[in-house]
Symmetry: C2
Subunit: 220 residues, 2 copies
Amino acid sequence: MNKRQTKDLLYEQVARIGKAVSSPKRLELLEVLAQGEKTVDALAAEVGIDIKLASAHLKVLKEARLVEARREGRFIAYRLSGEDVSALWVNLRTVAEEHLVELKVQMERIFAAPEKLDAETRQSLMEKARRGDVVVIDVRPSTEYTSGHLPFARSMPLDEIRQRIKELPADKDIVAYCRGPFCMMSAEAVTLLQEHGYRAQKIADGTAEWQAAGLPLATP
Amino acid sequence: MNKRQTKDLLYEQVARIGKAVSSPKRLELLEVLAQGEKTVDALAAEVGIDIKLASAHLKVLKEARLVEARREGRFIAYRLSGEDVSALWVNLRTVAEEHLVELKVQMERIFAAPEKLDAETRQSLMEKARRGDVVVIDVRPSTEYTSGHLPFARSMPLDEIRQRIKELPADKDIVAYCRGPFCMMSAEAVTLLQEHGYRAQKIADGTAEWQAAGLPLATP
DNA sequence: CTCATAATCTAACGATTATTAGAATATGTC
DNA sequence: GACATATTCTAATAATCGTTAGATTATGAG
């Protein structure tokens, strides 16, 4: 076999990963899976597609070895096949945010203030949370919190905030995060909290971004 | 516009990047472009395709804003639109190497010993090169060396080694690198040097891998 | 201005992919 | 064993993509 044919085989393999991440729905599935293991059912509902279609997309992701499946009773639970996969998602999204003007414009229209964190801000946020100077809340569904969350963060799912709002201190800054820059849960949480007189702000990071920045997650 | 439609727009943008990296030839073009600016002509020859086809692939990459074009006299020179693009290539290839058994098998068949570097080895290699304990040679074409190379590395293009071999010290370890783990130039250089009695070995890193690891490049 | 060269554009095709619906499989429950 | 549920498989169609060849554009040289 000559050099050209050999090379072709190598790039073809990498392109399997590329093909897997070339569909919007598959990317969204990866992002949701970065929040923890989920059933086909739950994934389909989360990304708004038919279960059959979700199953087909998951098959593609599985053939590219980006996800793994595990039977759990009547259900089949999918999960990312490694931390590097969620880092790849963050990498793709970051390149898109950096280079695609259309995406930048859309982000600005949707999210008033995009609060991107740098290494320093992440460290100091974790410090302040540790000392209790700020309260960091994870507004994702509680199962996602359970499978990994920012250090010193409390679980406060978006649809429980109204009832549980009194658990939060009125005299401290509250920092909300959710699944990442594309997720709208933290923005809704901030609006809700501000309406009740709390000092609240959101950050763009989710657990995938946090981890991709080389920082550790916590599990309860 | 509802939440679902809004989200769809966001993931669709990221999928533009995904689609751009879903073709083997486009990935190879990105890898070659990570070595520096090149004309369509040169790129087509390098990856073994027709100029028309190369032009079409480059158009796709340009529309995804992964590359930029610049007219240079009669030629048009393409380059990556940022360091993050070459880091994305490294990221994709690393995920593939990590998860795809087929790729691992192919790599083992082609390259006897895959010498992957970790952070520590990279630092110590640079130290030894600085002190002159080892001679690091860049066996890529000299134009690629010129547009950025490993610190303390000397240019010694593969097809000049035979004539210039006496420039290399016979009593020192020689470390060869080229475009990255998929590139065969460093392996050929090592074979050539060993035939002439030199102590030579190769490393998997190219400049893209070096830079993606957070280390600086040098430019002459 | 004409010519040669480098690259792009256009049109066409065959191959691949996304999506949908219906049939089939696997598991747990009654 | 029969049934309900979760998921996958199969088949079909429309849409997209890769590749090729021929026509076109842009530049520099004579």
